[in-house]
Each structure stands twice: as structure tokens, then as C-alpha cells.
């Protein structure tokens, strides 16, 4: 009977050890995942994805990484240059202020629209919202970690 008792005791401990072995492997995978995520520098605060662009430049599906202040317009000095005859030279600006993104119309001729509604001055904007500038539609998305 003593040998059986020892065997049962060993089995008990082995089961607990297996639970911890599983946790060890999972945690190792978690740490590796977090390390690899931390290695990639994420300076961008968000990104703009081109949804539709009649002129084909920039092509739909392409993305722009955003800084805290990004200006959009036809003028070559803008951070993002949009070639479209309905876009003003200095059309709009996207700014990141502490917690949220804001879009501002810089007095453009044809206006700036968020989800179909025209922007009047400074207006908050969320990830997933669609901005229309001229005939170009852009979507704000979170930066990839």
C-alpha cells in the first residue's frame, strides 16, 4: 500500500506541475509577444487610409502615418498633398490634442466633411470616421502597435 500511496502522491504533484508548465509556456509566449511589440517604434499617433480618390493619386488603400499636427491641401508645403481640383491650397488640418483627434477646416472653398456632415471650425473626430476633402475620402484609423 505504501508504494501505491507514494505513486498517488507523485501523480498529484505531477498534475500541479503540468498546470504550471502550461502557465510557464503561455507567459513566455506573452512576454515574447510584448517584447516584439515594444521593439517596433510607434511614433505615429494614427493613420489616414485613402478610401476613394477619383484621380488615383494617392491610390485608394494607401495609408499616411500622422504626426501630432498634419496639414492637408493641394499646396506642396502640406504634410499630405492631395491632387484634386476641388481641394484648396491649404484645406484642412488634423491635430492630436491630449486625448482625441480634431479636424479643422482652414477656410477652404469647398469645405471639409466628416461622415457626411460639414465641419465648422474645430471639430472632434474619432477613429473610424471618414473625412471628405474635395472628392477624396479618407478614413482615420488607429496606429498599428
Amino acid at each position: 500500500m505504501d508504494a501505491a500511496l507514494v505513486a498517488i502522491w507523485v501523480l498529484r504533484l505531477l498534475f500541479l506541475a503540468m498546470l504550471y508548465a502550461f502557465l510557464y509556456f503561455v507567459v513566455r509566449a506573452l512576454v515574447r509577444d510584448l517584447r516584439s511589440a515594444a521593439r517596433e517604434p510607434t511614433v505615429e499617433l494614427g493613420r489616414l487610409v485613402v478610401v476613394a480618390c477619383p484621380s488615383g493619386e494617392p491610390p485608394p488603400g494607401s495609408t499616411f502615418a500622422l504626426d501630432a499636427i498634419t496639414s492637408l491641401g493641394r499646396d506642396v508645403n502640406n504634410s499630405i498633398v492631395l491632387e484634386d481640383e476641388f481641394v484648396s491650397a491649404n484645406h484642412a488640418a488634423l491635430t492630436y490634442r491630449g486625448r482625441a483627434w480634431y479636424v479643422e477646416d482652414l477656410g477652404s472653398t469647398n469645405g471639409t466633411f466628416v461622415n457626411g456632415g460639414q465641419v465648422d471650425g474645430l471639430s472632434p473626430i474619432a477613429f473610424g470616421d471618414e473625412i471628405q476633402i474635395g472628392q477624396i475620402r479618407l478614413r482615420l484609423e488607429r496606429a498599428r502597435p
Binding site: 498534475f15 503540468m18 503561455v26 488607429r142
Partner: protein, 486 residues
């Protein structure tokens, strides 16, 4: 404007890959962890079988050799392990780049639950030939749901667009339970439709998270805005506080009408957490906690069942044979377990064929595991829940937009908060409430709702917009068919 829009190769104008090409993708991490799962569960079953046979031999006074190497109920356990590997195989064939840690972690929790059900007296519950068999059937259906959601859900528009419809469905379910629910142990939780009966509050928690994710992601900029001031407290515009008040009222209603303290606590805690996750405002949490305290005090003085729960929590030994019975037995179980436990199958001597704690298989599995696996074992189980929450929050931080981020965070926090509420209740850390320990407790509604959560999390974890696979020569089968046709 005559120029035709050019799109990068493989991307259609709406940004989606032009062809859905399914190619198997090796999931090494998941496979390795599932092998560890299978080994752990098999050793657990051997340990359980040996202990049971030894106990029987001791009771019969026989001195013959005992078979120590064969597991208890090998059929049930092997079916479950095979099902886990089948889910893995389907995920590999589907070829999505989804999370590889969720399935093994959930699989181990479900397997531990199955071992516990095998070990308990089979007559406790279940109408499919005993406790363990019924639990296995629910586990298999749950794994089926995880597979279907994890493979098929690629688009979240149906969740996002119809958030008010979802909310209406949820409130409808709640009202149906209020009116037509059956009273079990003084709580009105179960809804029966012909032969099918279930607990709608389990499904409701998923619906609640979907609605909150839709509402908060849409109105976040407005909630962050501070236009109302009451003294030193700055609040968002008052109309946007309405859902917060409604949430509080629903939680109170659940307590008063349904007498379901656990679900109310779970809903309110998840609501406050999501509010904090989406706005990063501590003031909301403080306000919500203040409302919670006010509501709790009022309920304590108005309703007997709330008062009983709190009094039992404060001093279970005041009436150890009556209202405090469950808690006292659970505390003794933890004490018997000690550091490494009595071993699977060696705890909880049954009294007249039933374990000493009523509702052990639904409300007190944590106490049973605490006795048989000890502090070391339940710490490992709590660690598994932490892994689930960490994965959910990681999926949230990598999500493409706010709806997906809040949804992933909310779904994983539901599991974490629920595990905390029931484990804390078993340990007399907080008042005991009758909710289930996710993936371990016996019960169909709970397993199915939690499977929906895991399936959605796996679907949400896909790292989208992956580089398209390089063009490939037609497969051998294709070439053979072409040759045959020629």
C-alpha cells in the same frame, strides 16, 4: 477627371483583397500548448482514477494490487481532447492570423471543469446520462461555437450597425425573464421555452458589451467633453449621462425583480470599466462607485435577500447550519486543501451520496478545486483567467478602430470580472452571489455564452491587411483536372 482610379495590386477600391484565398497556416504555438493541455489533463485523469481505486480498495478492505496507470473515464476526456485538436485543425485550414493562446487556455479551464464533473457524483444534475456526460456535450457545442465564430466572423458591421437592435433584444430578454421566468431558489433566472431552458442573463452580458462598444465608440468625443459643472465635478453634457443612469437602473432592477445579485454586479462593473477604458476619466468611475454605494445601501435596508447575503458574508458562523452553511463548508474545504490540496478525488467526503456543499457543481467549483488542488492549484487557475484578460486587452490595443478595441476589452473583462466575483464569493472576500465560474462550472447557458465571447475575441484578434500571399502555381489536383478536361 477621365483618369481611371488605380489601385495597388490585389486591393479593390473598397480596400479589401480582391479574392478570398484560403491557405492553411501553421499555428505552432497553439499546437504546442494544446499538447501540454492534453498531457496535463491526461495526468489529472490518471491521478483521479488511481485515487478513486485506492479509496475503494481501502473501503472494501482488499489488499490486492491497485491499477494505478489507467485514467478515470478515459472516453469522456479523450473525446474532449480530440475535439480541442479538431478545433485547432480547422483553424489551421482556415489560415487566419488569429490569436493562438486563447484556445489552449480556455481548453485547459474546460478540461479541469470536466475532470471535476467526472469526479463529482454523477446524479447531481444532467439529463444526458450523468453530470460529466452532459457537461461534455455542452463543452463540445461550445467548442463548435468558438470554431464557427473564429473562422467565419470577418466583418463586424452586423454588430456595429445594429447596436440599438441588440440593446432592444437584451432588454426584451430581460423583461421576458421578469415576467415568465421560473423561480429557482428564490431567484428568477431561468427562462423555459418548451423543452429548452436557459439563463438569459448569460447571453445578456455579451449583448451588453456589444451595445456599450457601439455606443461608447460613437459618442466618445462627446463624453470626453466637459460642459456641465456641479461644484468641483466636471461632467459631460447631461443627455449623454442618460445611458449611465439607465445602466444603473437596469442593475437595480435585476437585483429587485430577479434577485440576481451576481449578474447585477457583473453588468455594473463591466459598464464602469468600459466607461473608463473608452474615456480615461477617473471622475466617471468615482461617480459610478458613489451611485453603486448609494444603491447598495438602499437595497440592503429595503430587501431581505440582499440583507441575508451581506449578513452571511460578514459572519457566516452566526448560523453555520442554516444561511451560513454553504460559506462555512466552503471555508472548511479551502482549509482542508491547504497548500497543495488533497489530490483530485480525495477531498470532500460525500454525505449520503452528495457533496456537503449544495450547488457545488455550479456555484462552488472554486471551493472544490481549492480543496483538491490546494492554494497552488487555484493560483494556477486564477493565472489562466489572467492570461485570458491579458490576451483580450492586447487584442484591444492592437485593434483597428475604437469599436473593436472597446469590444475586445469588454469581452475579456466580462470573463475576468465574473471569475473574480464568484471566486471572491467562494473565499468570503465579497458577499456570495450565484454566478458561474467561467468554463469550469457545470451549465449550458454559461458555457455557450462564454464560448461566444472566446469565438468573437479570436475573430477580433486577426491581424488584418496582411501582405497578400505570392501567386502560386496551380495545385497538382488542378493540373490533373485540367489535363483530364483537355
Amino acid at each position: 477627371m477621365s483618369s481611371v482610379a488605380r489601385a495597388p495590386a490585389g486591393i479593390r477600391l473598397d480596400g479589401r483583397p480582391d479574392r478570398l484565398r484560403i491557405r492553411p497556416r501553421f499555428r505552432g504555438r497553439e499546437l504546442g500548448l494544446l499538447v501540454v493541455d492534453a498531457l496535463a489533463l491526461y495526468i489529472g485523469a490518471i491521478s483521479l482514477g488511481a485515487t478513486e481505486r485506492f479509496r475503494d480498495a481501502l473501503a472494501n478492505g482488499s489488499n490486492g494490487p491497485i491499477n494505478l496507470a489507467s485514467p478515470a473515464e478515459p472516453g469522456l476526456l479523450l473525446t474532449y481532447i480530440a475535439a480541442l485538436f479538431a478545433v485547432h485543425a480547422v483553424f489551421v485550414l482556415a489560415g487566419r492570423r488569429t490569436d493562438q493562446l486563447l484556445l489552449p487556455a480556455v481548453g485547459l479551464l474546460g478540461g479541469i471543469g470536466l475532470l471535476l464533473m467526472i469526479r463529482l457524483p454523477q446524479s447531481l444534475a444532467g439529463n444526458l446520462g450523468g453530470l460529466a456526460q452532459t457537461q461534455l456535450v455542452w463543452l463540445l457545442i461550445g467548442l463548435g461555437i468558438v470554431t464557427i465564430l473564429g473562422v467565419a466572423v470577418r466583418n463586424d458591421v452586423w454588430l456595429r450597425r445594429y447596436k440599438y437592435t441588440w440593446a432592444a433584444v437584451g432588454v426584451g430578454l430581460l423583461l421576458l425573464t421578469f415576467v415568465f421566468g421560473n423561480d429557482v431558489n428564490g431567484a428568477r433566472l431561468t427562462l423555459s421555452l418548451g423543452p429548452v431552458s436557459g439563463q438569459p442573463s448569460e447571453l445578456l452580458k455579451v449583448i451588453l458589451v456589444i451595445f456599450l462598444a457601439g455606443y461608447l465608440s460613437e459618442n466618445r468625443p462627446l463624453l470626453v467633453d466637459e460642459s456641465t459643472r456641479i461644484g468641483p465635478i466636471r461632467l459631460p453634457p447631461l443627455p449623454y449621462l442618460a445611458p449611465m443612469v439607465a445602466m444603473w437602473a437596469i442593475a437595480l432592477g435585476i437585483v429587485i425583480v430577479q434577485r440576481d445579485l451576481g449578474a447585477a454586479l457583473l453588468f455594473f462593473a463591466v459598464f464602469l470599466l468600459l466607461l473608463y477604458v473608452s474615456t480615461a476619466r477617473v471622475s466617471f468611475v468615482v461617480l459610478g462607485l458613489a451611485a453603486f454605494v448609494v444603491g447598495a445601501v438602499v437595497l440592503y435596508f429595503l430587501f431581505g435577500h440582499v440583507r441575508t447575503r451581506v449578513d452571511v458574508w460578514l459572519d457566516p458562523f452566526a448560523d453555520p447550519a442554516g444561511t451560513g452553511y454553504q460559506i462555512v463548508q466552503a471555508l472548511h474545504a479551502f482549509a482542508r486543501g491547504g497548500l497543495i490540496g488533497t489530490g483530485l478525488g480525495a477531498g470532500l467526503p460525500t454525505v449520503a451520496g452528495r457533496p456537503p456543499i449544495p450547488a457545488l457543481h455550479t456555484d462552488f467549483p472554486f471551493a472544490a478545486l481549492g480543496e483538491e488542488l490546494g492554494l497552488v492549484g487555484i493560483l494556477a487557475i486564477l493565472g489562466l483567467y489572467l492570461v485570458l484578460v491579458q490576451r483580450g486587452l492586447r487584442i484591444a490595443s492592437a485593434a483597428q478602430d475604437e469599436f473593436r478595441a472597446i469590444l475586445a476589452a469588454g469581452l475579456s473583462l466580462v470573463i475576468g470580472v465574473q471569475a473574480f466575483i464568484i471566486a471572491g464569493g467562494n473565499l468570503k472576500l465579497i458577499p456570495l452571489t450565484g454566478i458561474t465560474l467561467p468554463f469550469i462550472s457545470y451549465g449550458g447557458s454559461s458555457l455557450l455564452a462564454n464560448s461566444v465571447i472566446v469565438g468573437l475575441l479570436i475573430a477580433l484578434s486577426e491581424r488584418a491587411r496582411e501582405p497578400l500571399p505570392p501567386p502560386r502555381r496551380p495545385g497538382r489536383l488542378r493540373r490533373l483536372l485540367d489535363r483530364g478536361a483537355a
